[in-house]
């Protein structure tokens, strides 16, 4: 992971996007056990259809975990100050999720440099599935307080 510096990124710049493999029933079975969310609508097609859905659908928290990986692939997890999402549309088995992030604000407060990120996850058709925000700490500017890269 490359260090992210405050002065290196401008507002409006995109994070490297993250595309996960298509979500299979196996993915959902694993996540059911691993996440403690045992709701059968995510793993049992018979149950899901009886409940009025077309088929099993994806745990919102799996989509959010993928979005978390977009963040932790860019900055260390310890740099994440806050992270929130809204689950806008249901993700179905077979969908491929791509996570996007954009720097929308840069802040310095008490010597802590951070970025506000706007987050969005879309499926293989580009349909928006999840939107959100995160605040992440970044490294101070490389050139500051009379010091330059050369004498650091």
């Amino acid at each position: 992971m490359k260090e992210v510096f405050f002065d290196q990124i401008a507002t409006g710049e995109q994070l490297p996007s993250l595309t996960k493999p298509p979500i299979t029933r196996t993915t959902l079975a694993y996540f059911c056990g691993a996440s403690n969310d045992h709701n059968p609508v995510h793993i049992d097609s018979d149950f899901a259809r009886a409940a009025g859905a077309d088929d099993v659908f994806v745990h919102g928290m799996l989509d959010m975990a993928y979005m978390g990986q977009l963040l932790t692939g860019w900055v260390p997890q310890s740099a994440i100050l806050s992270f929130g999402v809204k689950f806008g549309a249901i993700v179905y088995v077979g969908d491929t999720i791509t996570c996007h992030g954009e720097v929308v604000d840069k802040t310095e407060q008490g010597g802590v440099y951070s970025f506000k990120l706007k987050l969005r996850a879309v499926d293989q058709n580009g349909e928006s599935k999840l939107t959100g925000e995160a605040q992440v700490r970044v490294s101070p500017p490389r050139v500051s307080a009379g010091r330059t890269l050369n004498n650091q």
Partner: protein, 165 residues
């Protein structure tokens, strides 16, 4: 049993039944839940989400990075909160039908990391209960504070669920 201590609250939930939201539960905290952060389950979670960073499944890497043990990913607090016989108990208490619930929003604030072997105590408080579109959508918002075995605040998270009728 993970349930409001107040017997009046319990009775109110029963009387109200499904279909009526019990706004008297707003502001109520629930008995603390203490959960062991299982390393095996952390590794399983990492596998389930296709995690490639060894900090989430390799003890040596995590310790070399300064953590007590393998690191719990950013969203893991919700998984800890679901480590109860009935994760929908609070939703049911306010009068939501657990079979029709969807998760609509989730957010976290982070303080100290959660690692394998930790013991995390979660205290959940219902912060809002409301309806939209003349009761067609019923919402519950709850906030959970997660403290570790050292008494340090690890994360505070907020969850919104909706029952669609």
């Amino acid at each position: 049993m993970y349930w409001p201590v107040d017997p009046d609250t319990l009775r109110a939930a029963k009387i109200n039944g499904i279909g009526m939201l019990d706004k008297t539960l707003i502001g109520k905290s629930f008995p603390p839940l203490t959960v062991d952060v299982d390393k095996w389950q952390l590794k399983f979670f990492a596998k389930a989400v296709g995690e490639e960073n060894p900090i989430y499944f390799d003890e040596q890497t995590a310790v070399a990075e300064g953590y007590r043990s393998i690191l719990a990913p950013p969203t893991y607090g919700v998984t800890l909160g679901c480590a109860v016989p009935d994760p929908f108990a609070r939703a049911k208490a306010v009068g939501l039908d657990a079979t029709k619930i969807l998760h609509t929003a989730q957010s976290f604030e982070y303080f100290e990391p959660i690692c394998g072997g930790d013991q995390i105590t979660l205290v959940a408080t219902i912060t809002d209960v409301f309806e939209k579109r003349r009761g067609a959508f019923k919402f519950m918002v709850e906030e959970t504070v997660a403290t570790n075995q050292l008494g340090q605040l690890t994360t505070r998270f907020r969850q919104t669920v909706v029952e669609r009728t």
